[in-house]
């Protein structure tokens, strides 16, 4: 039961019922397609007459198309309805410190075009690059009706002003990504933190509609990001800065983090942590304080460590396992405090799932009251590009999310 926010609410008009039912049917068609009008009546509980009126409207607006006829043992054949995938293009953008990806997606988060370019260090230069690419992408697809542009960024986004407040790994502060794109394309722009985007992708594009409405997405790369879905919607917190669990302290007097806190989770459980750990182990601890090159020796990439561990390298394996342990420590906090039905891990580390899952699982079980956690820990399908799908979800939810009343 939600409290009505009397500082910002919507009253119902005579069109409200239609808006609500329309969204429900659109969502049912999206997730259950192919589906007949009669099916929709059974699934929704609405009268068949009502279904007909609404679906006709959806067909007319080209959200839905009529497809083949179904086959039944008796009676008139049903006409299947499908989501009109061709109608709409959504541009998904994934900004990462090294490279940025621009992709064209349909409503099912299937990508039909994709290109990457290296992320310029100067925000203005970057914005110019990005705008150019997007304009070119739009021009080269004249038949597509574009719905909007979703952007996933590795940093904090102010949910009101829609500005990028701070992106530590890019070194950007208070960047307005939106205005330039908006004026160049005239399309709606949505910008969101990468972990939040991943969390959205997870509820909007889950495989078999499990109906999970409470989950946490944890992105593990240079740092750790968390995106929390509670009651089917993103937990944004004051000014949209919730979900910084990567910077909670798991060691009271641990190492100083660049955020100013000590012993942050991401100091011990990010890719960076594993690299530093491996360097320390193979170099007698001399390289511990250096992140990157040290004593003339080239620092390995995280992928290198994964590969080495896979090939049986003991030190690399230990680094991965220590990282898994520390991941578990933080995940235990999430399972105990938030108790989501599912936590999705996103990052290269999931390639070593068979190795890390038992460790994570044990650490969480040890720390959970009653020893058994209700939270399922799963890896994201890496080839599904969670961040890009999340940026698509940002636009998708504007058309498929629950309309806000009261």
């Amino acid at each position: 039961m939600r409290k009505i926010d009397l500082t910002s609410f919507n009253v119902a008009t005579s069109e409200t019922a239609r808006k609500i039912n329309r969204r429900i049917l659109l969502d049912l068609i999206r997730t259950r397609q192919p589906v007949s009008r009669a099916d929709l009546a059974r699934l929704s509980g609405l009268q068949r007459s009502t279904i007909s009126v609404i679906t006709d409207q959806l067909v007319e607006e080209k959200w839905v198309t009529e497809g083949a006829f179904g086959h039944l043992p008796r009676g008139r054949k049903p006409r299947f309805l499908h989501l009109n995938v061709e109608r709409t293009g959504i541009i998904g953008i994934n900004i990462r410190p090294t490279k940025t990806t621009v992709a064209l997606s349909d409503l099912n988060a299937r990508f039909t075009a994709e290109e990457s370019f290296s992320t310029a260090t100067d925000p203005d230069k970057f914005i110019a690059d990005l705008t150019e690419r997007i304009v070119a992408l739009i021009k080269s697809h004249p038949q597509v009706f574009f719905e909007g542009i979703g952007v996933s960024v590795p940093g904090r986004v102010d949910s009101e002003s829609k500005r990028l407040v701070f992106a530590p790994n890019l070194g950007w502060r208070d960047v307005d990504l939106r205005s330039s794109l908006e004026s160049a394309t005239k399309l709606p722009i949505e910008i969101e933190n990468a972990a939040n985007a991943c969390a959205l992708a997870e509820i909007w594009f889950e495989q078999r509609g499990e109906g999970i409405s409470d989950l946490v997405a944890v992105t593990i790369s240079e740092g750790i990001g968390t995106g929390i879905i509670a009651n089917g919607q993103l937990l944004r917190g004051a000014h949209g800065i919730a979900g910084e669990f990567g910077h909670i302290s798991i060691r009271e007097n641990g190492e100083l983090c660049k955020c100013g806190n000590r012993g942050c989770w991401e100091i011990y459980a990010s890719n960076t942590a594993a690299i530093r750990d491996y360097m320390t182990a193979t170099n007698g601890g001399r390289a511990a304080k250096n992140n990157g090159h040290s004593n003339g020796r080239q620092a390995p990439s995280f992928e290198d460590i994964l590969r080495l561990a896979d090939q049986g390298d003991g030190k690399a394996g230990e680094a991965i396992e220590r990282m898994a342990h520390n991941l578990g420590v933080g995940l235990a906090i999430l399972t105990i405090g938030i108790a989501p039905r599912k936590i999705v891990l996103i990052g290269e580390i999931t390639q070593a799932w068979a190795r890390i899952y038992p460790i994570i699982s044990r650490v969480i079980a040890e720390r959970s009251p009653s020893g058994q956690s209700v939270t399922q820990i799963v890896p994201a399908q890496a080839n599904e590009r969670p961040r890009l799908r999340g940026s698509v979800a940002l636009i998708l939810q504007k058309h498929f999310g629950a309309p806000a009343f009261a």
Copy 2:
């Protein structure tokens, strides 16, 4: 934007608009009373004609009463509308390990009757006691129309089955508090964890409608409980076991907690912690492992320690300050991870607010990225009986919460 849960949704009918607008008006009347129909039209944006129809309905159903006439420099005098406080009684129950309180409240969480009795250790005996008291309370108020019974319990409640799963400080497991009360009174019963109840009380009975929809309530007594409100509703998590932040580990290899985890927040920041800390300090550490009596010496109550600290006792003051520090450590995790607009602290410790707030505040600031937290930390008004008010909110929200559609 919320995703529609296709496993459980409500379609809109022709009455849906009315249900929505009715709730909005009822809430506006509750929070803005006294208020005229014309005021409601301005506040809601609905037509005055619509307002008239709905308010007439509310008056007829005795939710609202027409009161005095207002005074204006010009024009017809407005007729003020009030929430009909007399109409309804809500029974609030607060179960605590030592004593249980039964109270009769109106819709504004003002208590008109209240009595306490000691909590029986045997659940069956307790249920019998409680049922008897409630039946007597109802009998002695024949003129009141009872809306329901809200129960706040110091333990975990399964949100589906509505059973008390586990109450560590009572030693109860899987207790069905509901059935007996329901069959004896025929009233709706709602049961909720004490911290969750406090969080609800905070958003439903906040002083000056600040419109805060993200907050955390932290109850500090024998243990620590947390109740999280996200987007205006309780974060329940899988099986309603979210909000066990009291049992997250803040010291990696800390003391063993009875939950099975090590170094739990509540081990260091609960009243019990301060008592143990004080005993250790005044008894050369000999009493550290004993909670309660030790070496023939009577353990002080937490109130004793507060009083001693207030009187200038150094050891007691240090115990309080250490507790404040440890509270800050856990609160920092909440401010960083959840970033609520407000955290409300509930417990005897808030009596020493002037002493503890600077410490808590500093610890949080030290640990917050950018050094400044957006979260306001405030004490609950102790004389407002947050738990009881929360149990009233449990029933209140069924009538004043946002109706669920889509």
